[in-house]
Amino acid sequence: MQLTELVQKIAEEFEDTPKEQITAITKLKDLEEWSSMHALIIIALIDNHYDIILTGEEMIDAQTPTDIYNIILQKQANK
């Protein structure tokens, strides 16, 4: 798994936000488009693509795609 790939997948889920506006260090919850649905979507996206289940608390703590990436790496290592 690459960070750039994850950023791209996350960016695709924001339909009204220009792709270039979402980078590895974008604070996702600061995006105007952010809603509670996006937390669910990102959890599902990661479950489907990486077979890793993020908890809601982890999603709340994670600010940026890099944070999410690090949680995935950590969980993969602990598998």
């Binding site: 509670s36 649905m37 669910l40 599902a44 479950d47 489907n48 908890t55 809601g56 608390e57 709340i60």
Partner: protein, 250 residues
Amino acid sequence: MYNPFSLQGKTVLVTGASSGIGQQIAISVTKMGAKVVITARNKERLLATYEQLVAEGHQWVLADLAKEEEIKNLVNAVPKLDGVVHSAGIIQPFPIKFLKKKNFEPIQSINYNAILLLTAALLSNKKINRQASFVFLSSIASQYPYKGAATYASTKAAIEAFAKVLAVEHSSKGIRSNCLSPGMVKTAMYEQTEQAVGAKKMSAYIEQYPLGVGTPEDIANATIFLLSDASKWINGITIRLDGGLLAGMH
């Protein structure tokens, strides 16, 4: 003493009895005089429930209701029943556009398929006495769902319909079938939901309940009513237990 809610002389099967609402139902119905057969997947936790049952003559059977073979073993192990409480259920939020068989099949298998298969097997093996009462645990999510509840809410809605069909098919023998539809109840599933949505969101949600969050005892008491002869004229309904959440605008 006059007590139309007594379960003396009745034998009741409780699924999902190792935790949460199912565990409390098992304990409460024994307090009302029933003999119970409790079942769940986890031996350690099921035995912990068994230890808390009141009086003697109860039975525990390990079964994973996702497996047809284990449903068969359970049905063979149970005596004739006057009540069946289906509390086994699982929850996993998932947005619709990401749904795949691997996400929803495990939930369907426990929340829906297991109920149909177990009910069918109990009836065809003549394990259900006349005047018996079936109680199925639905959820307010079946009528008032939340984001991500596609599988959970739709399996619960399906069970409410199933319970009515059962009521229609077997009422000639005095057999009844009803649902309980709880809102948020303080159980392990509550903790799990809190983990999934975050503590802040959860407490904001709970604040909407005029009578606060429910307890397993609240659900167990309604179950006692539906299992007892006090409800012998009630068939094919769903009782909502939500602390007044859906009564109107608050």
